[in-house]
Symmetry: C2
Subunit: 256 residues, 2 copies
Amino acid sequence: MSKKPVILITNDDGISAPGIKALIEVMQEIGTVVVVAPDSPQSAMGHAITINNTLYVNQISKENDKVLQYSCSGTPVDCVKMAVNEILHKKPDLCVSGINHGSNSSINVIYSGTMSAAVEAGIEGIPAIGFSLLDYSWNANFESCKKFVKTIAQQVLQNGLPSGTVLNVNIPNVDEKEIKGIKICRQAKAFWQEKFDKRTSPFGKDYYWLTGAFVNLDKGEDTDEWALAHNYVSVVPVQFDLTAYHAIQELNNWEF
Amino acid sequence: MSKKPVILITNDDGISAPGIKALIEVMQEIGTVVVVAPDSPQSAMGHAITINNTLYVNQISKENDKVLQYSCSGTPVDCVKMAVNEILHKKPDLCVSGINHGSNSSINVIYSGTMSAAVEAGIEGIPAIGFSLLDYSWNANFESCKKFVKTIAQQVLQNGLPSGTVLNVNIPNVDEKEIKGIKICRQAKAFWQEKFDKRTSPFGKDYYWLTGAFVNLDKGEDTDEWALAHNYVSVVPVQFDLTAYHAIQELNNWEF
């Protein structure tokens, strides 16, 4: 009998989010699960880590619970570091992050705490996947995700991942039977057109809410945005070597 | 007479840091400067943005000051968005971030608030550069940086940048005359070996400080780490399309 893989689960919506509960359910079917997730929502925290403040960890699970669960006061990236160094004391066989409430496709990957947790695991040499459902609501229905989440996690456990990459998986918010399949994609070239909503506090001070509209000018049919719009699960291999290799030669022509 | 370029300056050490003051001095020599920087230190904030909280902006400069200066309660990335949308009401000709107190070479690029501000500007189509000096101390000497900061900024204004890239510039902490030149590099493949320093609060609760050691196993002589160790200023072109294109074909062989 082969040993069950150890699977670390985290997210950025916080340990009490329905999305992480769905992910725990699926991962229990394929491995031994340990959860280390933020004690409060940490959406859009990107690759932030906590270096100017202290970190707290609390065990949430009880003695006989099947799944070890810890909450952490830090960011999603802190959770991964904490899990590996202070809870597991070793690298897990797989790290999965999510299931995020809302899309992390295209440029959203760079703002996403969910994806940054996966990237951090990747930096530490752990196969890692971030999962997101295209529904921002707290009461999103994660049922139709489960089959795809399980399949992709199993494939990663079986095949490993190409060196220096993690997976960014986004799932359309439709019934499972409407999903046409899984597509390997590139990140669509898109951006957020910000709009600051300016208000005045009860004390007379101006303040802002950051809002905005997602603008995708990329018409490619090999992008995650295209796949999602056509009811495919999108899988983008994401790298953390940010070097723009194609630009090196051009810059070498500059006169310094 | 050609019109002076508009240069947006931000950082992650906060608006009162000596590093940003040095950057303002240099940029005043080549353009019209507007500063929008965090009102408190935001190191290691990565590409975090503020979506679950309000944002405040305060004008710091007085009526007759040469340089418009604003502090913002948000992250470095928030500062860039705020500057473009609510202060400048247009894109500047250049965005420079720093000068950071401490290195942002190699994998540090991904944790760095300084670099994330530059990346955000890049996403918005603004030529952008992050500058860092390899000295973490508040009283670091930024004098020997200035010549290189000016040269590189002028080159970017003159040549533009390759599409979809920004520059990550790191400067050795040595006298100007010891610096051998400017080298275009790739990001060294390295990581942080974390160590959590566990302590107990006066109230009996355990807490942690995240510390660690930088581990560079990359022996390449074309990396930023090599350049810096040999007293070169390192310039890495950084991209925000995180797709690992080389991995797409391999993943397409998987059986979903």
